[in-house]
Symmetry: C2
Subunit: 154 residues, 2 copies
DNA sequence: ATTGCAATGTTATAACATAACATATATTAT
DNA sequence: ATAATATATGTTATGTTATAACATTGCAAT
């Protein structure tokens, strides 16, 4: 599988799914939160908080400040709609929220496109490793950096 | 296995090992680099760059600046003597440098002690996941946060 | 001795993130 | 409908993490 950016319809579906989840769970998907989510998912690549801030400023044509963005991000992460990539201080949308709270990633260093890789065998293996060490997992960061098929062929 | 801090002899051995590796590989283990390495390994817990900086200032009793510490850290990471935990912006010593360049971690949120967990089956599983996605790995961040045996029993 | 190079010193600032408090908006209970 | 409450946002300031850029030092090779 090569790493492709999401189609317009996938994006729409993703946004719609988040709206539905918020509606049915009575989560306040406010204008800003929605804007931030759309900016993140439409970006295809991991995006940084201050890049989001710039876009928010352009959209709304008024001053905005870091806390506004970070709060929206917090909300989106808490509810599993967005993930943070710690290795590059960037944020990505989640395309199957609620399916899992943990998410593993492949991140291409060249084209910057990312992809989730949360297969169960990997999850199991990590879980076994934790058990073997008498360790109770609360959250896992797995970020695999390298080159995707397209970029490693160039 | 519970997460214990390293004994004095383990620390000495670790420092000695690094010295030997540098000697045989003609790597310049300068005074500062050595100081930073010792601070990191002796700390038992992940340590932050500015905490290292404070300690360096105390040791040498003269002004030091962030680049001094970050450069030393870069050297130590490049040569596999130290790892960065991206999820908590902290640094830890590696107790088997050169055995592998990648390192996976269990990090206890309560006592902050960390432990490497680089078993081969986990390595294999990650490798397979990458292959399955036609992805060439250059480096992997795996940080499992949670509670160690001791802390989860308290 | 001079050149070249690796490491360190120094100043400044970039990049990332949150504390604290004020204000506004939505929700709920009366 | 209104007051009380909770939730969200605005705003200022600052804390935290990390690097750019350039000067200086020390040492090795010619």
């Amino acid at each position: 599988m090569s790493m492709k950016s999401k189609s317009t319809s996938e994006l729409k579906a993703s946004i719609h799914r988040v709206e539905e989840i918020c509606k049915s769970n009575k989560l306040g998907l406010t204008e800003i939160r929605k804007q931030v989510f759309e900016i993140i998912v439409k970006n295809n690549k991991p995006i940084k908080a201050y890049e989001i801030l710039d876009k928010i400023r352009n959209i709304n044509n008024k001053p905005s400040h870091p806390p506004t963005v970070y709060r929206a991000i917090d909300f989106l992460i808490e509810n599993g709609f967005v993930h943070k990539l710690n290795s590059i201080n960037s944020f990505v949308g989640c395309f199957h929220p609620k399916a899992h709270k943990e998410c593993y990633f492949l991140i291409c260093k060249k084209c910057n496109i990312y992809q989730e890789c949360c297969d169960d065998s990997l999850k199991d293996r990590i879980s076994k490793t934790a058990i073997h060490n008498n360790f109770v997992i609360s959250n896992t960061t797995l970020e695999i950096e390298g080159h995707c098929l397209d970029c490693s062929q160039k």
